[in-house]
């Protein structure tokens, strides 16, 4: 099953490689990964998506907790949560395609954020199923470049990941 695991880690050099190294050393797979600063300058928020059965995920969380630089870990999949991904996609947009791509972007509530004589760059925010659906709806021959942020996640309601 697909799990979104989110953690706060110390802003120390090498912290990210400890997490990545753990996954490669123990044969777990990271499908998506994002890291960025938080309101607290001493920590970064790392979110990753991995696949595994219940026992594997339990081991992953335990091993992550064992890393000294990892302050807090949560498996977002265990509870109600919001998942979002940012997609930036550059499309060949000439002739009749220009109008058609604009309509398709509107249907998905995507925005065209950059335009050239022959291209559109489209931005779309949503969970994985939405970004997947948009990409699948496009004529594959028009896709010039795809950039996806990987999943971000946050718990619903008053629950939060904090130190």
């Amino acid at each position: 099953m697909r799990h979104i695991i989110s953690m706060l880690m110390e802003n120390e050099s090498g912290a990210l490689s400890r997490v990545a190294g753990l996954f490669s050393a123990r044969g777990y797979n990271i499908q998506e990964l994002t890291v960025a600063p938080t309101e607290d300058q001493t920590v970064s928020r790392l979110t990753l998506v991995t696949e595994g059965d219940e026992q594997q995920i339990e081991q992953i969380v335990k091993h992550l907790n064992r890393l000294i630089d990892v302050v807090k870990v949560v498996d977002l999949t265990n509870g109600e949560h919001i998942e979002r991904e940012l997609l930036l996609i550059k499309l060949m947009a000439t002739g009749a395609h220009r109008e058609e791509l604009k309509r398709l972007a509107d249907i998905f509530r995507a925005q065209i954020v950059d335009v050239s004589a022959t291209t559109y760059t489209v931005q779309l925010v949503g969970d994985k199923s939405k970004t997947d659906a948009f990409i699948n709806a496009l004529d594959a021959s028009l896709i010039l470049e795809t950039v996806r942020s990987g999943a971000l996640g946050i718990m619903r309601g008053e629950k939060r990941l904090q130190i």
Binding site: R18, Q55, Q59, R66, I68, V70
Partner: protein, 565 residues
């Protein structure tokens, strides 16, 4: 007081109560070596002949005393040579502090002379590591390193210190306290879980204790012994756990696993409640995991949550220090009205005794050729079972574990997890340095000993009169055994040709050498060797090269599928 980074390292180690430091100097660590020379210090530095040996010796010092072992090496090759020793300590959860010199911060990343990414290379084999970029953080980082290495599940911690940080000055105050917000050590097991465990333990009809190195590292030997005796249940110990419960006790059924006893493995296979304490269900213990303990409910006590349910699904997990958890269990047992089911227990013991009667450790004695098992039995007699025994890795290691019954913890010093050939001699040095009055024997083979034989020189320099018991069978014995069993007797590269004359070799290092070929004179020669208490004696014992380690669970088989002979 204002000190250089190098002086801070020396002063801190003193303040932390460190006695011994094992190391080898080099360019990037010269300021610390200079500080050792110029500072009046109680710290004793031992100069090894290869950095790998420094890590092994410090590791053995820790295994024998319970205190952390200290290593000091230079950057680049100094650090990479230390890697095998760090990995060895990591696999067996030994607290080791490794200080490495590094090129100056301004040169990091420029492929400088003797530069290597030490923190990167060591990352998967340390509990944690640090690169100190600011001398102001040095003392606190050292304190953190000791705290992390010695608490929770212990392990090696490496501190990489660039040369400019060693030369920079700052005020030094010994940091009394340490606070790491992301690292919280469990000090007590969950009482509800302990209650559940005690209930399950008391309800058992075919109980089995399975205990490991965690009992030794957690100094829980006396609590374990009391608990096991109070219940009257059988106990088996892993290679790393030997000595935590006395081998001579009737409740001990010996070691388990690939080369464990028949009775231990059969009892594991048929038990209904398995009480695992400070053990990690290693593949050499479990055999085929699908066939492991098919009828057992499992209680598992361990300090490391990640060890629980890693290989085998556990019914009652308890995370906590084993000594504390065992004390809580003993207290519950004292207040308990229920007693173990004596009738079921007596039937269980009858069954175990019938397995014992097979006498799986029997071997064919000989008057013509020296049997390796007989060497270990002789060693046990000559040392009255009271030696510190270090071993290398291979057949001799298994025979030492099988034929030298250990009565006390920390007496059996070997590389269980990583299985590092070459540890035996540096291990013996580490133990002898820690405990000068102890009898220290290194059981080795002609293959393993050559992996760190240069340390004979260190032994001479520091007067370390250890006894080296070399089972010389002219083969990489364990490799040869596997080739005989599983590779149709194709002995690819397992024969050792062109061996040195070990007697002459050790004599050239200033020690005593003995060659023994006749079984009749084995015991008298060994007595002679151990009588020379102030000399290192190397016994080159020519043993039967056809001998195999039995019994054996072949890879992929279950614990009830042992090859007996």
């Amino acid at each position: 007081m204002e000190l250089t980074g190098a002086q801070i390292v020396v002063k801190f180690l003193e303040d932390e109560g460190v006695e011994h430091l094992w190391g080898y100097p080099g360019g990037a660590v010269l300021p610390i070596y200079d500080a050792l020379d110029t500072t009046a210090t109680t710290l004793k530095h031992i100069l090894v002949r290869h950095e790998q040996a420094a890590t092994h010796a410090a590791d053995a010092y820790s295994r024998a005393t319970g205190k952390p072992g200290l290593v000091l090496v230079t950057s680049g090759p100094g650090a990479t040579n230390a890697i095998t020793g760090i990995a060895t300590a990591y696999m067996d959860s030994i607290p080791l502090i490794v200080i490495t010199g590094q090129v100056p911060t301004s040169m990091i990343g420029l492929d400088a002379f003797q530069e290597v990414d030490t923190v990167g290379i060591s990352r998967p084999i340390v509990k944690h590591n640090f690169l100190v970029r600011d001398v102001a953080e040095l003392a606190q980082t050292l304190k953190k390193a000791f705290y992390i290495a010695t608490t929770g599940r212990p392990g090696p911690v490496l501190i990489d210190i660039p040369k400019d940080v060693q030369n920079a000055k700052t005020d030094y105050v010994y940091p009394e306290t340490v606070d790491i917000r992301s690292y919280n050590v469990v000090t007590k097991g969950h009482s509800g879980q302990i209650r559940k465990a005690v209930d399950l333990i008391l309800s058992a009809e075919r109980p089995m204790f399975y205990t490991g190195g965690g009992v030794v590292l957690g100094d829980a030997s006396s609590q374990l012994t009391e608990f096991v005796r109070a219940l009257g249940y059988p106990i088996t110990q892993t290679l790393m756990g030997l000595g935590a419960f006395p081998a001579s006790d009737a409740q001990s059924v010996g070691m388990l696993g690939m080369h464990g006893t028949y009775e231990a493995n059969m009892a594991m296979h048929h038990c209904d409640v398995l009480i695992a304490i400070g053990a990690r269900f290693d593949d050499r213990v479990t055999g085929n995991i699908e066939k492991f303990c098919p009828t057992a409910k499992v209680v598992h006590v361990d300090i490391d949550p990640a060890s629980i349910s890693k290989n085998v699904k556990v019914d009652v997990p308890i995370v906590g220090p084993v000594a504390q958890v065992l004390e809580d269990m003993l207290e519950m047992l004292r207040l308990e009205k229920r007693k173990p089911n004596q009738e079921a227990l007596s039937n269980w013991w009858k069954q175990i005794d019938s397995w014992r009667a097979i006498n799986c450790m029997a071997y064919q004695p000989s008057t013509k050729v020296i049997k390796p098992q007989a060497v270990i039995e002789t060693l046990h007699r000559v040392t009255q079972g009271d030696a510190y025994v270090t071993s290398d890795v291979g057949q001799h290691q298994m025979w030492a574990a099988q034929y030298y019954p250990f009565e006390k913890p920390r007496r059996w010093i070997n590389s269980g997890g990583l299985g590092t050939m070459g540890v035996g001699l540096p291990y013996a040095m580490g133990v002898k340095m820690a405990l000068p009055d102890a009898t220290v024997a290194c059981v080795t083979g002609e293959g393993s000993i050559q992996m760190n034989i240069q340390e004979l020189s260190t032994c001479l320099q520091y007067g370390l009169p250890v006894k080296i018991i070399c089972l010389n069978n002219r083969f990489l014995g364990m490799v040869r055994q596997w080739q005989e069993f599983f590779y149709d007797r194709r002995y690819s590269m397992s024969y050792m040709d062109s061996l040195p004359d070990f007697v002459k070799l050790v004599e050239s290092y200033g020690h005593v050498g003995m060659k023994v070929t006749d079984p009749a004179e084995l015991e008298s020669k060994m007595k002679e060797a151990f009588a020379m208490t102030d000399r290192l004696v190397f016994m080159d014992i020519q043993t039967d090269h056809t001998e195999n380690v039995y019994p054996m669970i072949p890879a992929g088989a279950g614990q009830n599928e042992m090859i007996l002979v």
